[in-house]
Amino acid sequence: MKNFFQRLKNHSKLAFFSFWFLVIFYIVSFLADILAPYHFDYQFRDKPYHPPTKIHFFDTQGNFHIRPFVYNTVVDDPVFRSYREDTSKIYPIKFFVDGPERKILFFFKTKKYLFGVDKPAGIFLFGTDTYGRDIFSRLLYGGRISLSISIAGVIISFTLGMITGGIAGYFGGIIDQILMRLVEILMVFPSFYLMLSLRAMFPLNLSSIQVYLLIVLILSLIGWAGLARIIRGMVLSIKEEDYVLAAKSLGLSHWRILIFHILPNTFSYTITALTISVPGYIIGEAALSLLGLGIQEPYPSWGNILSSTIGNLRVLGDAPWLLLAGFFIFVVLINFNLLGDALRNVLDPKNW
């Protein structure tokens, strides 16, 4: 494992950075409920489309405060939703402030929040949305869903693709024919419409957990077919390799040869393909959520945070911070692509 990091670092500094960037992203979104200053559905009814809060060190008299503070804001112009800072009172940013009780890490109930300010002021690092909910908190919670959907989806489609492609390629003949025709049936549907129709098969009033699992399943059911075909092709060529003949001459069984000698030799490709396909799942979830078929409000995902901007050009102009979800998708996507490219070389023993 230590070797792996060293090799990744030697191979490409950029990919090494991407790797740790993604690790931090995943950790942060896993710890969303500890780090977020507000619960994802906590609303400031009087502060919709609030711009990111300004954090001050100097008050109006020019006095320096070691502890940064914010001002409460009041609506200046209700039509254009512009806010004005009320400088009469400062609200210092404090650690472990009290707030409404919520569960953290799925089990522990607590009223403490890692950081925040006293009411009625609010600290909105990335602004608020149309209901006055803190975008920063929602992005953290949303990352938990979007990032875990991609990993779960990748694992399922990877397993399905490996099994189907491996068996079809190695055993060939009628098995190959049947499996590949099945895969082709899946592939002839445009994947976006297949996704929509699969989603339409299920009722809309599912619980959020059910919807979550459903989306994982739908996305991986669409993703595995292409992978299976490519793995089949690779297995077809690898099974003619000399070391497979040598493995046979040792008296190994077909399954052992397939699982220990042929499939691992496809990893140099599949690992890369998988890392590159991760963004596809994030976007797939975003696409479903964007159409209102994915994760339902009030639960946040990067997709449905983004979807709240759809069809409202004024929002895009007046509250561009709502597009930050798109920026996060973009950043994760780029990092996965960079990492995927480097992984192929790093995981191949011939390059060690």
């Binding site: 000399d242 008296g251 190994l252 000698h261 990893f267 023993p349």
Partner: protein, 310 residues
């Protein structure tokens, strides 16, 4: 004498679209216990096909059309897939030509040796260390990947894998072709040392007749899918014209052009060497059987074969 491997009337063909093209014809020979039998022939003469058919690892396009392959008395052409798997690597093992390509690049040498081991009661690690020592490698090499060691070391690993179950016969399919002269010498010495220590029979396939003459107890000469001669290099000289050409003894200039071609028999049935034979005659235009000189040696040539019979 006890036979480890006995091949009776083996014929193998390659399927090409609808027709069958013969690759091996009328193969009859045996390898005795602990013997070093060399098979010599040009590229394309069917040496590797023969080795693979003994392992029952022929590609799907090849079919065994007739014959028997008896390994320790058991016809391995009849046994099912499950039992052939337990025979492979245990009773019979094979060393291939290009050791680099025959080791899985993703696994260390140690994993390869673990895989080669068939169920054993002995301590596995101890057995692996002992076998590595037998082939002249340090135990530390277990942690190394195949591409990190030299071709000679890779071939030693292959030999260790072939040796580890103490098989009764090891097929060595041109094990030195990919190696340089010095390493070739080392590998040959290693094989003879192993033969002295564990007494496996070795079926050594090569295209180098001189090498075969220096190590083989008996040598089989192969031409176009036929074994044309089997002889003992320490007792007698090879007599078949093709063996002579291989050794460089016969002047190719003398070539009888004036033989009238008989149209009565199929050209495929003629002596396989007829077209290039410097000593060919009218009577060679027919099927020539393999004539055993004594119990160990023989020749497929009417001219020289008949002399021996008398």
């Amino acid at each position: 004498m006890e036979y480890v491997l006995k091949i009776v009337n083996l014929a193998v063909s390659r399927r090409e679209r609808t027709q069958l093209i013969p690759v091996l014809n009328d193969i009859n020979f045996f390898v005795e216990k602990g013997e070093l039998f060399c098979l010599v022939g040009e590229s394309g003469s069917g040496k590797t096909t023969l080795a693979l058919s003994i392992m029952r690892l022929l590609p799907k396009s090849f079919v065994v059309t007739s014959g028997e392959i008896l390994l320790n008395g058991q016809n391995i052409l009849n046994v099912n897939e499950q039992s052939i798997r337990s025979i492979r690597g245990k009773d019979i093992s094979i060393i291939f030509q290009d050791p680099g390509a025959y080791l899985d690049p993703l696994f260390t040498v140690g994993v390869h040796l673990q895989e080669a081991l068939h169920g054993t009661t002995e301590d596995k690690n101890q057995l692996i260390t002992k076998t590595l020592k037998d082939v002249g490698l340090e135990p530390e090499i277990q942690l190394v990947y195949p591409h990190q060691i030299s071709g000679g070391q890779q071939q030693r690993v292959m030999i260790a894998m072939a040796l580890i179950n103490n098989p009764s016969i090891i097929i060595a399919d041109e094990p030195t072709t990919a190696l340089d002269v010095l390493t070739t010498r080392q590998i040959i010495n290693l094989l003879s040392k192993i033969r002295e220590k564990y007494h496996p029979a070795i079926f050594f396939i090569t295209h180098d007749l001189e090498l075969a003459m220096s190590i083989g107890i008996r040598i089989g000469i192969m031409y176009k899918g036929h074994i044309v001669e089997i002889f003992r290099p320490d007792r007698e000289k090879p007599l078949h014209p093709y063996s002579g050409i291989l050794l460089g003894n016969i002047d190719k200039k003398y070539f009888n052009e004036k033989i009238p071609v008989s149209s009565q028999t199929d050209i495929n049935d003629w002596c396989p060497f007829f077209e290039k034979c410097p000593e060919r005659e009218q009577k060679c235009q027919k099927k020539i059987p393999f004539i055993w000189r004594d119990s160990l040696t023989g020749i497929r040539c009417i001219k020289h074969g008949r002399n021996h019979q008398m």
